[in-house]
Point group: C2
Chain length 185, copies 2
């Protein structure tokens, strides 16, 4: 809704950038619309003109990463051989995390986000499909553990402040190596 945002929708973009920044710093629950508005130099009501509710704003902030996740899962599921399929999922996840570090950090920063995302109809199924890809059809404990380790490790590396300035291709190479080690590809 609200696509003809006057001209160019530039304000909307500024709100999204500022919101992402504050969500990242203070968590979604800790970043009020007042803070976002103050940082932009406008009032809360101006933000409400762009987004009908805070939930909608949160959703809009994380949407790019969700779209990308859907692409990754779709692509991986199209691969027949199980190991290659999981490998495609892992590499897609790595690229996703590196391309959307701040959003991923936001997603994992606050349980309130999970609640907002539960209202997103497709997402629950999407995550379940991702789990299937990562764990395989018959998840043994050690496979579960390895997959959880990879997932958490990727996110941790992608969001670690000390690694914020590390070149993405270095990170990508190391992460692929680490995932391969843990999953014994």
């Amino acid at each position: 809704m609200a696509k003809p945002v006057g001209r160019r929708g530039e304000t909307r973009e500024r709100v999204l950038r500022t919101a992402l920044c504050l969500f990242r710093e203070r968590g979604v629950g800790g970043a009020s619309l007042q803070m976002i508005a103050d940082q932009l130099g406008v009032t809360k009501a101006a933000v409400y003109y762009q987004f009908p509710s805070k939930d909608e704003l949160v959703l809009a902030v994380v949407q790019p990463a969700l779209d990308r996740l859907a692409e990754v899962v779709d692509l991986a599921e199209g691969i027949g051989e199980p190991d290659a399929r999981r490998q495609a999922a892992v590499e897609g996840l790595i690229d996703l995390i590196l391309d959307h570090r701040q959003i991923v950090a936001t997603l994992y920063s606050d349980p309130a986000v999970a609640e907002v995302l539960d209202s997103h109809p497709d997402l629950g199924g999407l995550i379940e499909r991702l789990r299937q890809l990562m764990f395989g059809p018959d998840p043994t404990p050690s496979r579960l553990i390895a997959a959880a380790m990879v997932g958490g490790g990727l996110i941790s590396v992608g969001t670690e402040p000390l690694l914020a300035d590390t070149a993405p291709d270095v990170l990508r190479r190391e992460l692929r190596g680490a995932a391969r080690l843990l999953l014994r590809d």
Copy 2:
């Protein structure tokens, strides 16, 4: 459910247990003192009799894990050889996470917790010392990445709901193996 409490200090323990449970489910910011009191069948004021503020309650809930972390760091720092030192830190961390899964999940559930902990005088230094132990004196990017991967992976495995019923010694063995792989011990 609970009836008048007989012994001294028992109520305090019940508050702590209930708070941890709710913090884990809804995040610290999402769990109000009203909810905690309701679940215990008392009023907010009764909780305030036990803890002077919500921040103090949060601190008391996570204190056991912080104490344990201090032990782990102290012990590891006493080891001279760098690789053995890091190995001791990693194994101590693994045991800590397995023994305090719920607290660790709480610690990582909400940025609000980090703010509370910043008021804890010793903790900042403690985490810095842990970083030193994990990264070593001269952290190359690939060492940084491996250490971040291990840290995030351990937490992810320790808090993954699907692994809640997995035997601790299985988890411990797998986690030690994974850490050894990644850190090339």
